[in-house]
Subunit: 338 residues, 2 copies
DNA sequence: TTGTATGCGTTATCAG
DNA sequence: CTGATAACGCATACAA
């Protein structure tokens, strides 16, 4: 590779000191118009671009933000593999970062020690947490002074970091209320685990809908893994023979699994059983039946998270934000059979 | 943030020189057992971890690999948003990278100049190209000496870089042959554009199936954008009134769009029209009808690409590789109506 | 075997 | 206002 021009080359060509070049290019100090012109001229002739590595060393910043996903069985695949939710999030983050001159470092992290080390040795300027992590990681976080924004995380886990969320409680409520108003009474709530506050809030909203009608609240059905098609499929298989007439899922992905299992068992959706999803990923509009689901604006959330992080990094601490959700009624729900 | 221990701190604590510490930690030269022990002891006590930024400066390597996606309308979203193909690819790459001590820098790139600059100022050790880029980028590449592996790219575009592919021609053939053997004659081939060699090869395979039977080859239907649900949907809408009895799609995503459009037009799949996909992403097994498709092992491809890149970076240039594909017959295909 | 000195490309400090 | 010069943290050629 042809050696890249350094600041020294520019300085020599312009007949000034390295410092002068730096001043001009960073517009950090008054420089005589003539020097300035010479420097710019030389820089342009040599196609000079500052080296981020060297710059990082003195500035103690890397111009990189870290995007962290939880590791399940040593891979991020188990979390993100099947769900285009992450595609939208990452696309949004990458765009905001790139447009602000930052690069995105993507990694899966499991143990808190790794995390700390990773951040420090890379001199990351900011962090974005995608999803729920072991509580110990949040403890570790507090001891570092790196700006961070949490996504889909609730206060009890955060401490001092802004969090970007959606109104999960309302989402759960909307799904339940929709089914109740259709006339369903025996409704299952399918969660991937109530250790996750996101799931808890959705379940809370679900229960509120019942309570407001003075009905008893069904206990939740718990899938054994993360949001996966197969988790939904297994629960659907189990529920196919039950007396449930409707199933509320906490992701579109699991809803698809459920619907397929029901179909294989000869149970029709929505004629026999209604199913709702959560997220409204793109494909949900295209399946048959298309999915009645709780829509969240994923890219908006990702964009907001990245923007807040960058604001915070610039020294303007941003507040968290909770986005609204709305119910999108499609074909997977209908009144119960008589 | 509590100041991080540097090599100097370790040296002082161990009562040796900085150089000695470096030697021990990098195992670069023989060091007396005693010194070694003292250094390791001190390093461990101080929880010393070398700073990658500083290390990069002298070693001229960053321990980062860049994963590059093409930019469409200033965002990578338009390419990756709806397709879990990318989730699998990225998961696989991240895992291999992480396990080999590398971090993944993810970015969207459009103009060749940006690309060159990005690689140089970040001192990237290796590059992974996901998908097809403007030809000018390949030209720019040749002038740099950075190891790279191309994914889903054909020779004519590469030059000296190994490429990881699948047997696209065979995939196209399998899909067509399957439908022909079912008795279909009027089969549409839906491509997102024959500028992309991947699509060209699939179409070639498709045509071969016809030629081997001495049948005339249908001309392709071209969607106007990238692999998107909506691209498929629009073509499906157009094809709903046609005499085609089967449609071969070059991605599962577009196939879903097609199927939905047909459904909305009252055309049943597979009773009225058969549809095949390509990729076999996870959801294809769970939709109704489940999708007959050409399976490629996406994670295997991603893993291989990352491993080849790392091998090349270590000085053992790896060869490209073409993975096999196979037909997975599910519910979206059936013999034509009598 | 170990320590010293220098370079990597920038930015920050401090004289002039 | 400008320009040497010293960090920044690490690796390495060279000297001891």
């Amino acid at each position: 590779m042809k050696r890249r021009a350094t600041i020294k080359d520019v300085a020599e060509r312009a007949g000034v000191s390295k410092a002068a070049v730096s001043y001009v290019l960073n517009d950090i100090r008054k420089v005589s118009a003539e020097t300035k012109a010479r420097v710019l001229q030389a820089a342009s002739e040599l196609d000079y671009q500052p080296d981020f590595t060297a710059r990082s060393l003195t500035k103690r910043t890397s111009n990189m933000i870290g995007v962290i996903l939880p590791l399940v069985d040593a891979s991020i695949a188990n979390v993100m593999q099947e769900n285009t939710y992450y595609n939208e999030m990452i696309s949004a983050i990458e765009k905001v970062a790139r447009e602000n001159g930052f690069d995105v470092l993507l990694t899966g992290l499991a143990r808190p020690e790794e995390y700390r080390n990773w951040v420090q040795k890379r001199r990351l300027d900011g962090l974005l947490f995608l999803g729920l992590f072991p509580a110990s990681i949040y403890a570790e976080m507090r001891s570092m002074e790196v700006p961070a924004v949490l996504i889909d995380t609730y206060e009890e886990h955060t401490g001092k970091y802004p969090s970007v969320n959606i109104n999960d409680e309302k989402g759960g409520f909307l799904a339940a209320e929709h089914l109740l108003s259709l006339g369903h009474e025996n409704i299952a709530f399918l969660t991937t685990g109530l250790e996750n506050p996101v799931e808890v809030h959705r379940y809370k909203g679900f229960t509120r809908a019942f309570q407001e009608r003075g009905m008893t609240v069904p206990s939740p059905e718990t899938a054994e893994t993360t949001h996966r098609l197969e988790s939904g499929w297994m629960i659907g298989k189990k529920l196919a023979g039950s007396s449930r007439t409707a199933i509320v899922c906490t992701s579109d992905i699991t809803a698809f699994g459920v619907i397929r299992a029901l179909y294989e068992a000869g149970v029709r959706v929505p004629e026999d059983v209604s199913v709702t999803g959560f997220d409204d990923i793109h494909i949900s509009r295209y399946t048959t039946p298309s999915l009645t689901t709780v829509r969240q604006h994923i890219m908006q959330k990702g964009t907001a998270a990245a923007e807040k992080l960058i604001e915070t990094m610039k020294g303007h601490p941003a507040a968290g934000e909770t986005f609204d959700v709305k119910l999108v009624i499609r074909e997977s729900t209908a009144p119960p059979k008589q």
